[in-house]
């Protein structure tokens, strides 16, 4: 996806150009739906969230600030936040097996010594910095961001008090930031 093209389409959407908005949908819906599905694990819910997100994008396109965020980041954030809210609202309870599968995929993503892991293809700086974190910090960050786990769920899965989880997330991101700013 070309950022300039998405920015152009968002600008036209802000001016109530329905064709541009449809084009924007065609370019991004599959990826955004993938993000919603990863958090919600349910196609119908992911579709609902995608619809709500695009309605929000239509109404809020005028608020998009090209100097603050890349267009896809802005749109993906809308989808993520709506998905997180939906997960909390539905009080999702994942089966142990599902949690296990997800955590295993996180382990795979964050593996440090395999050059073919997906993370290594994503962004070297972020990969390097994530891999420098303590395992529990990295795992907590990815469980929350990637799959929408709440602090309660992370606490339950990792069998640690919620305050410990809060502290891990805070310290993990602080170290990630220090590393990224080097």
């Amino acid at each position: 996806m070309e950022s300039k093209e998405l920015a152009r389409l968002l600008a036209k959407t802000a001016l109530r150009d329905q064709q541009a908005f449809e084009h924007l949908y065609l370019l991004t819906a599959a990826k955004l739906n993938g993000i919603a599905f990863r958090i919600l694990h349910n196609s119908d819910l992911a579709h609902e969230v995608l619809q709500e997100a695009f309605i929000q994008i239509w109404h809020n396109a005028i608020e998009y600030r090209i100097d603050k965020a890349e267009p896809f980041t802005w749109m993906a954030s809308i989808v993520r936040y709506r998905s997180y809210d939906r997960v909390r609202c539905e009080k999702r309870r994942l089966e142990n097996k599902q949690i296990q599968e997800q955590v295993e995929s996180i382990e795979q993503i964050a593996a440090t010594n395999q050059s073919t892991t997906p993370m290594c293809e994503i962004d070297q700086d972020l990969t390097d910095c994530l891999n420098q974190l303590e395992d529990v910090h990295r795992r907590g960050i990815l469980m929350a961001y990637y799959f929408g786990f709440s602090r309660d769920e992370i606490s339950e899965y990792l069998e640690k008090p919620i305050n410990t989880i809060k502290s891990w997330l805070r310290r993990g991101l602080a170290r990630l930031q220090q590393c990224l700013e080097k």
């Binding site: 309605i55 100097d67 972020l126």
Partner: protein
Amino acid sequence: MSGKIMRYQQPALIEQLAHQYVLGTQSIRVRQRIAKLRLEYSAIDERIYFWEQKLTVLHDKTPEIMPTNDNWQAIKQKLAFTPKKNSAGVRFYQWLSGVSMACLALVFILWWQAVPQDNLSYIAIMKDNLKQPQLVAATYGKSRTLKIELLSIPKVPQDMNLELWVRSKTDKQIRSLGVISTSSNIFDRQLTEAEWRLIKDSKDLLLTMEEKGGSPIGEPMGDVVSQGLCIRMASWQDKV
């Protein structure tokens, strides 16, 4: 300064709120609260954007899942978009306009190839007091052109003019870019070197209602009709 304001200026708290928000680990109620706070406190907003941008690459490898076809129809229905007319009567018209558009496109392509390319440098989408987009001001770097597009033309009394202003980022002073015509929706104007420098240093643009010929004192006297932030188009594009 109140305690509440002081509280939301503490870097540790700002960082904590941004972390929670971007990771989505908080309750819906707390999320809504932070969403409101980011509108009030730009430092919180900045940190949320920072983390969103840093972590977004994690989704680069998220598999695409094509939504079902009726998803787009549902969005259109919820937004009450006007359906495209498809009766036999309009098909010929559509064909004719299609041919016209193709001709226009051909002319445009030939013209585009003939003239040197000029990149959009700055853009401001200016909103009226009801927060509706009213005017788009765009500048093009190579040709030093200001292009104004009026999306809705405000009522201007005969003895008045609309005047465009630019507010400087560095000294916060407001300086005039001159009165603008409302006789057509779109028009171009050549910028002087001094005006171009103003654009390069601009924070936002304002449109005010002034007496005929523009404000006599060189600063806005009348009501602000619309305003909008001036965005440099090359900012993140330079990074990618």
